[in-house]
Amino acid sequence: MAEIIAMPKLGFDMAEGTLVRWVVGEGEAIEKGQVLAEIETDKATVEVESSAAGVVYRHLVKAGDIVPVGTPIAVIAAPGEKVEDIPAVAGGEEAQPSAAQTEQPAEQPIPASQETAAILEDDGRTKASPLARRMAQEYGINLKQVQGSGPGGRVVKRDIEKALKTAPVAAAPEIETPPAPIAAPTTSPLPAVVPAAAAEDQRVAVDKLRAIIGRRMVESKTQIPHFYLTSEVDMAAVMELRKQFNSQLPEEQKLSVNDFIIKAAALALRQYPNLNASLQENEIIRHAHRNIGVAVALENGLMTIVCKDADYKSLGLISQEVKEMVARARAGKVRPEDIEGSTFSISNLGMFEVEHFVAIINPPEAAILAVGSVKEVPVVENGVVKAGLRMKMTLSADHRITDGAEAARFMQALKNYLEKPALILL
């Protein structure tokens, strides 16, 4: 039986390879595992081994050719065998020798050991709808072995569904190879054996938002000398006050812990303008407004919405504005003014039961506050252990603009506002 050797994929980002040299010439005998050729990727030169024993029937590419991963590069045949269907060098009629096709009954999924063949066969020359193609890839089905029922033999959704139904039976007798991966989604959600063949890495294109987050965070972490301060706050008073408010407020107006932190931080920033600042060349700009950015988790990243002049706003107004902006951000309907002009940011992961974490500064701001959850913990007061409500918050600050002592005093002021929340109601 003839076997096709394809340009192998060496490394997840390899898209094409150069055939540097044929080690075994056409017509020469070759053993399984023997080096057939040398190929070069953008990283290294590697030897390609033959996956079959026999005779090198045909080289399909010339030395020096650059071809995409998965492109057939050689045909190995049994001695004396005549191979009819040889894949053309670039985009020929048929990608697979007929011999291999008779090996597999129609509609049977390809076993794991035939992975190379699967790549060859699903090379775009099989007539299949985009949906069928995607499903085949998801379930590890070889499109070539599915009988197409659409116009001109096109493989469509119903054909894949049919193949899925018959698959577990076909795969059962195989002992050496792992069970066909397609059995998993239809029969059992938790396969006993890891379906090796279909367990492909998922490739997700970096979308615009991800790209922006990535660029800004690299910029921040590489250019800003961060330093970090963690404080623990007694939250009993805030929690009590919040309870009082919320018992009187309708559901949609209830205050969150974060609303208190926004207000408290904005007030503390009035006293410490260096933390509400930006560095621009040789100048530190101390911003006149305290616009608090609030990190909002989205399905595919995060976004910072901005509560402007939070030091002048009531808790109720802060709460309402933030709720509206968060809703718009999550609905993908954020307005430019919702995300512009923040001068200090807060990232709160308290709702995820995170005790404490450190955040990366959101440039061009000078600092960001990372807030953990409010937890009931044992605290010692005057030598007596009792239950208390504590929250940890960590400030990341830009050492070019501020220093440890100043940042620490800011944290003290913030802590004071939160521990005596009557002050923020003034």
């Binding site: 709808s129 985009p130 949906l131 469509v156």
Partner: protein, 323 residues
């Protein structure tokens, strides 16, 4: 709910809006004393008087130009074009003025203008009076272009159009005026720019609007007898175009037929199909089919005219081709 004709629904919407808002007025050819070529404004002249129901000369550029001026200065004109084919005489006013003034002057003024235009073929009015040029107008940003297919939508959408701050081209199909349908009691709005699923099904998605909703529904009825369940999405608005329900439906059925009365080339079907290919490529299980008018000026001869217009059989054939 009352069962009324499309004509009554449109008439009610106009009447109620004129009662509600004194800034709303009507102008157009024969809309006053005669009561409208399609009798939509019958009785309006006597009730609202010549100030608010104004007969105009046969000069479409003047009708739309005057309406634009009135809208800019604070009124809410509803201009009627006897047929949409006459909109070509007012093309500059519609696409170069109405669609652009708000934008070009930095939002200093709003343009709450409604142009009601009668469209569609099938009444043996000849090639120049039977066109469906909806896509031409929907091509222009700045204009809202809507074409309801049911009396309920017609009433709710016309009210929304009159209350909108933007110029709206409201296309009424000449052969739908007699169509009856359930219309909710009292004042209600159907928002512009929202398509809707008019009929549920799981085998194929038919995307359509206006008169072709009726044709597609008849096709779906016949297909149902053969066990084929077609889902029908009524676009209702061509601009803004709401692809939400279309994509939602397509992701379920994986097959689509788009039915429009206008010509196929550069048409609504082309736009919708492209958007499906762009936004739901991995759900495509068959090439999307378009059913549209034959690429000829619409014949006068009744038999030929019907042959050139999309018919129930054409929709059925297309559905079977994509299944």
């Amino acid at each position: 709910m009352a069962r009324i004709t499309m004509r009554e629904a449109i008439s009610q919407a106009l009447w109620e809006e004129m009662e509600r808002d004194p800034r709303v007025f009507i102008l157009g050819e024969e809309v006053g004393v005669w009561g409208g070529t399609y009798a939509v404004t019958k009785g309006f002249y006597d009730h609202f008087g010549p100030e608010r129901v104004r007969d105009t000369p046969i000069a479409e550029a003047a009708i739309i130009g005057a309406a634009i001026g009135a809208a800019l200065t604070g009124l809410r004109p509803v201009a009627e074009l006897m047929t949409i084919n006459f909109a070509f005489s007012a093309m500059d006013h519609i696409v170069n003025q109405a669609a652009k003034l708000h934008y070009m002057f930095g939002g200093q003024m709003i343009l709450p203008l409604v142009i009601r235009a009668v469209g569609g073929g099938g009444r043996q009015l000849g090639a120049t009076h039977s066109q469906t040029p909806d896509a031409i107008f929907a091509h222009f940003p700045g204009l809202k272009v809507v074409a309801p297919g049911t009396p309920a939508d017609a009433k709710g959408m016309l009210k929304a159009a009159i209350r909108s701050q933007d110029p709206v081209l409201f296309i009424e199909h000449a052969t739908l005026y007699q169509t009856r349908g359930e219309v909710p009691e009292g004042d209600y709005i159907v928002p512009l720019g929202k398509s809707t699923i008019q009929r549920e099904g799981r085998h194929v998605t038919i995307v359509t609007y206006s008169k072709m909703l009726e044709i597609s529904t008849k096709a779906a009825d016949q297909l149902a007898k053969e066990g084929i369940e077609a889902e029908i999405v009524d676009l209702r608005s061509l601009r803004p175009l709401d692809m939400g329900p279309v994509l939602e439906s397509f992701k379920k059925t994986n097959r689509a037929v788009i039915v429009e009365e206008g010509w196929k080339s550069y048409g609504v079907g082309a736009e919708v199909a492209s958007r499906i290919y762009e936004e739901a490529f991995d759900y495509v299980d068959a090439p999307i089919k378009r059913v549209a008018q034959a690429e000829v000026p619409l014949p006068y001869n009744r038999t030929l005219e019907q042959m050139a217009l999309p018919q129930v059989e054409d929709v059925i054939k297309a559905v079977k081709e994509v299944l």
